[in-house]
């Protein structure tokens, strides 16, 4: 596919996908996954019921399957529209927010992304009645005009004031992220240009490294004070975002007990705009091994009802969504998939500011190439539509009418070639390795 661009005011406006580069290194977001996401984003139509990309993958979640699929073998439904009567809408945060699909467009900041993608995500969330987390970088003015955003309150408090906090439908206290649990946000100085400096209220050209902990949250009691302060200040639901780590069930129980409306759990392997290599590759556990224990812990403590669990990290398809919900999540967060829908080709160079797909490039006063806002928005809207349709096809296959009824239905899943330890962590039956 040749890069089709139109030229406006001397600028190339990018409205088509780059050809996928040849890849030597192994990649989770491989060509098959990118091709599938692009097909959803360009057509808005379902591509398949059962995700074929999971074959050969080493991820534990890819070895977890719906029983219905195993019974279905050889009977892959072609990409037809789903039947009526399958509901993928959810209510989150004690029923205060209705979402047309259990998809939260996850927490990517203005600065990490170069502006147009931020606006496209927020507009797509408005258009599809989903949600968009805006990340730590303060509020881009055009994002601030969108309704269905979650404003993030992270350890550096970049660009936040009461007005900004009140803009969204809710607030997210960011404690951790899956790509670098225990480490703060990082925007390299080369990307801190004038407009980012103004939005974040930091000097131009200086690395924006957020503190690893919140310096006013050193305990679960401190967290409670912040949750209620934000609730009183905004009158809106407060979510807490954490990384999937060793003690995540305790963390989730604490977060729920302290009055938060939900938790976003970000698993190992999730994307990032910049992180120390050693931390990204060695810290944290996969979301599939975290979400199930969190769900069971919350049930055991009698705090699951109305409390929202959002699962994030390598959510690559409707099937991943369905499986994570069956493991105990109410909703999933998609971010890398949304970037791919907007043209990301996974060159892993966001921190340098030379994104070939103009998503995470350094913002320039007179750019030669910009992303088409209209097209990018349409791609994300289509992605959500296609994704929802695939989710409905899965519901049809597993005999569940609504995703709300799917939450915690571990009995629908089977682990195939997963160690006994991991099976126990997920609460699944199946064939093991041990």
């Amino acid at each position: 596919m040749k890069e089709a661009v139109s030229v406006s005011e001397g600028r190339a406006v990018v409205a088509s996908y780059l050809r996928l580069p040849k890849r030597e290194a192994i990649e989770f977001w491989n060509d098959d996954r990118i091709t599938h996401i692009r097909a959803l984003a360009t057509t808005g139509k379902p591509q398949f019921v059962w995700d074929p990309c999971k074959e050969g993958s080493r991820r534990v979640l890819d070895r977890v399957k719906f029983r219905a699929e195993l019974e279905d073998r050889g009977d892959q439904v072609d990409a037809t529209e789903p039947g009526d009567g399958f509901d993928v809408s959810v209510e989150i945060g004690y029923g205060r927010i209705w979402m047309a699909a259990p998809l939260y467009l996850g927490d990517m900041s203005f600065g990490a992304l170069s502006g147009v993608p931020n606006v496209a995500l927020a507009r797509a969330a408005d258009e599809t009645y989903t949600l968009c987390g805006i990340g730590e970088g303060g509020v881009h003015p055009d994002v601030g005009r969108c309704r269905r955003i979650f404003v993030q309150w992270a350890s550096a408090r970049f660009g936040l004031d009461l007005g900004a906090l009140r803009l969204g439908m809710g607030t997210v206290i960011k404690i951790g992220q899956g790509a670098k649990p225990g480490i703060g946000g990082h925007l390299p100085g080369t990307k801190v240009v004038e407009v980012i400096s103004r939005t974040r209220r930091i000097p131009v050209g200086v690395d924006a490294i957020s503190p690893a902990p919140h310096h006013d949250i050193y305990s679960i009691e401190d967290l409670e004070q912040r949750i209620w302060a934000l609730k009183e200040a905004t009158g809106k639901p407060v979510f807490v975002k954490v990384a999937a780590t060793n003690y995540v069930p305790y963390v989730a129980a604490g977060v729920a007990r302290m009055g938060a409306d939900g938790i976003i759990i970000d698993g190992h392997g999730a994307g990032t705009g910049a992180a120390p290599w050693v931390v990204r590759d060695n810290v944290g556990i996969p979301i599939e091994l975290a979400v199930s224990s969190v769900d069971r812990m919350l049930r055991r403590e009698g705090m699951r009802e109305g409390f929202t669990v959002i699962a994030a990290g390598r959510v690559s398809s409707a099937e991943d969504t369905a499986k994570l919900m069956a493991l105990g999540a109410d909703c999933v967060s998609i971010a890398t998939a949304a970037l791919i829908a907007m043209g990301c080709v996974m060159v892993h160079k966001c921190h340098l500011g030379f994104c070939p797909a103009v998503l995470t490039n350094r913002i320039e006063d007179d750019p030669r190439k910009v992303l088409s806002l209209e097209t990018a928005t349409r791609w994300v809207v289509n992605l959500i539509k296609g994704w929802s349709a695939e989710l409905k096809l899965i519901l049809e296959r597993i005999g569940v009418n609504s995703v709300r009824e799917l939450v915690g239905r571990r009995d629908l899943l089977v682990a195939d070639g997963v160690s006994e330890d991991s099976r126990r962590a997920m609460g699944l039956e199946g064939r093991g390795l041990d």
Partner: protein, 318 residues
């Protein structure tokens, strides 16, 4: 930038979830502290990496040592020894034919071969114990009065062997994966086995581990993350024998000053990465809070018998 931990972006492609896991270490992940206990900001708050060996007689700046010097020329070895002095790290001279005694100035922490005990000011010497059967013979020849003596042993699982080494009077053990033995196991298992074996009380009622230092050495220790995990499994010092040569792009005829400069940058970077991992896990001192702290780690899809030997919980277990 030289000496800085590299920054990357987007999702990990590391083993075991994406790339193929080659070693047990590839199936072990570290913790991130959050909410119930805070992480430490490694860019702004102190994270201590120093430690003491041999009853406080040696202070190292970090739990990483440089070894694998056998293939180096005399001049190259001298530069490595000086670089390690400047960085405050231990240098393991095992296998070196000619010791650059001149380079070993006061305050340099070296593990010298035992037969060089009288030729210079060495903190500690080492003797190779190739098998449990060879222990008595080796121990009989120990230059005990003068020095701390470390036993270089093959990676075995045998608890009794490690206890016998302690009983023979050694002050430290280096589990060295390059020493072959028919009962050899992976370094991860041997390190953990040694650490656990020595936690039993000795003749004075205190754990043997209190007076014996444990080090792990292997060509396959690739990174600060590998070192961090081995420390979590019980090692106090992890010896890099090959990775530092990759980092400095070592080759025959390399300019010695460049070798030293790059080695210092490499060690600086390793120290910073150790601080990142420690800070993320909420650890403010590697020596006091990480050594043998298996609870800070989880395994992913590691065979259960191996996991139980290591004493590490499985991811999702709490």
């Amino acid at each position: 930038m030289a000496g800085e931990p590299p920054i990357v972006s987007m999702g990990s492609t590391a083993p075991p979830s994406v790339d193929e896991p080659r070693f047990i270490l590839d199936r072990i992940v570290s913790d991130g502290a959050q909410v119930t206990r805070p992480s430490i900001d490694p860019y702004r708050e102190p994270v201590e990496t120093h430690l003491y060996l041999f009853a406080g007689s040696v202070r190292l700046s970090m739990p990483v040592a440089v070894g694998g010097l056998a293939e180096l020329t005399f001049k190259e070895a001298a530069e490595v020894v000086k670089a390690c002095y400047r960085m405050g790290v231990l240098v393991d001279l095992h296998g070196l034919r000619e010791i650059p005694v001149e380079a070993v100035r006061r305050g340099t922490h070296v593990l010298a071969p035992h037969d060089a005990v009288n030729s210079g000011e060495f903190n500690a010497v080492q003797m190779t114990v190739r098998s449990p059967g060879a222990l008595n013979e080796v121990a009989g020849a120990l230059p005990f009065e003068r020095k701390s003596v470390v036993a270089r042993v093959p990676p075995l699982e045998d608890s009794e062997f490690y206890r016998s080494v302690c009983a023979a009077g050694f002050n430290g053990i280096i589990v060295d994966e390059e020493i072959g033995h028919r009962d050899a196991v992976e370094l991860e298992i041997a390190t953990s086995a040694c650490d656990r074996a020595l936690k039993v009380p000795g003749p004075d009622g205190l754990p043997l581990r209190n007076r014996v230092n444990l080090m792990a050495s292997s060509e396959r220790i690739r990174s600060s993350a590998d070192a961090f995990k081995l420390i979590g499994l019980g090692a106090e010092v992890v010896v890099f024998t090959r990775s530092w040569k990759v980092a400095v792009d070592y080759g025959p005829g390399m300019e010695e000053s460049l070798l030293a400069e790059r080695l210092e940058y490499f060690l600086t970077g390793v120290q910073r990465e150790l601080k990142l991992l420690a800070g993320a896990a909420g650890v403010s001192s590697l020596w006091s809070s990480l050594t043998g702290s298996r609870e800070l780690f989880r395994s992913i899809e590691l065979e259960r018998p191996v996991r139980l030997k290591l004493g590490v919980k499985s991811a999702g277990e709490w």
